[in-house]
């Protein structure tokens, strides 16, 4: 399996632990489905933990952006946690680093939701 996503609740924040590759095909569609399901279930605070993401392509980056837009448009917040160097570099190249709210600690990320 290219990607593994597990969702857990920390207070009222849904933390999605993403492991593996977010690339065109199974990886990006699994991420899309997970975010849409959370939004459909009324979740407003979503934290994507990308610490175990080994690879991401332009499709995966597009999925992060689409997820951000979906959550924001539903009145919620989507934040990113534990970026690997590769993901961080890609977000900087694509000028998305300042678009996302990015945290390095889960505790502070969870507290930062309003």
């Amino acid at each position: 399996m290219s990607v593994n996503l597990k969702t857990r609740q920390v207070g009222d924040v849904s933390v999605v632990d993403v492991e593996g590759r977010i690339t065109l095909g199974e990886g990006s569609s699994a991420l899309r489905d997970t975010i849409r399901q959370l939004v459909a279930n009324g979740q407003k605070k979503i934290l994507l933990n990308l610490g175990d993401v080994s690879y991401i392509d332009s499709s995966g980056i597009g999925e992060l952006v689409s997820g951000f837009t979906t959550v924001t448009n539903s009145g919620g917040q989507l934040k990113l946690l534990n970026l690997t160097k590769r993901v961080k570099d890609l977000l900087q190249i694509t000028k998305l680093y300042t678009v996302f709210d990015i945290a390095e600690s889960e505790a502070s990320a969870v507290r930062s939701f309003t």
Binding site: L24, G25, D57, S59, G62, V65, I93, L96
Partner: protein, 135 residues
Amino acid sequence: MEQYLDSTLDSVDKAEELVLGVAERAGFGEEELMKIGMAVRESMVNAVAHGNRYNRNKKVRFRVQRNGTKLTVRITDEGEGFDFGNLPDPVAPENLLRGSGRGIFLIRSFMDEVQLRQLDPGGTEITLTKYVTSQ
């Protein structure tokens, strides 16, 4: 090296694997290998998904050549082509939140030279070049 690959996502993995083998032997470092691999993946996705539209009757021609410090990858599809002279800038503020359109931008960011060519009667060819520099 030259191969004709099926229009499937498995071919994207295969092309990346093939180019990384050649690039590693050419002396590229880890960071450069990542960039080459990703540029080839993005180019292959364009060929397989957008060019050939996963059509099982269409192939992707994949060529890798090493000449001294120069690595050249050429990927050719049999699709209908696209207007690559008029691509939206994905880092322009008005495009930042688009869900797609970053592939060619990343390819150009990661390679030393990139050429796109529309073929007659059909198909698109992308040529990627990267030079080994002392690490």
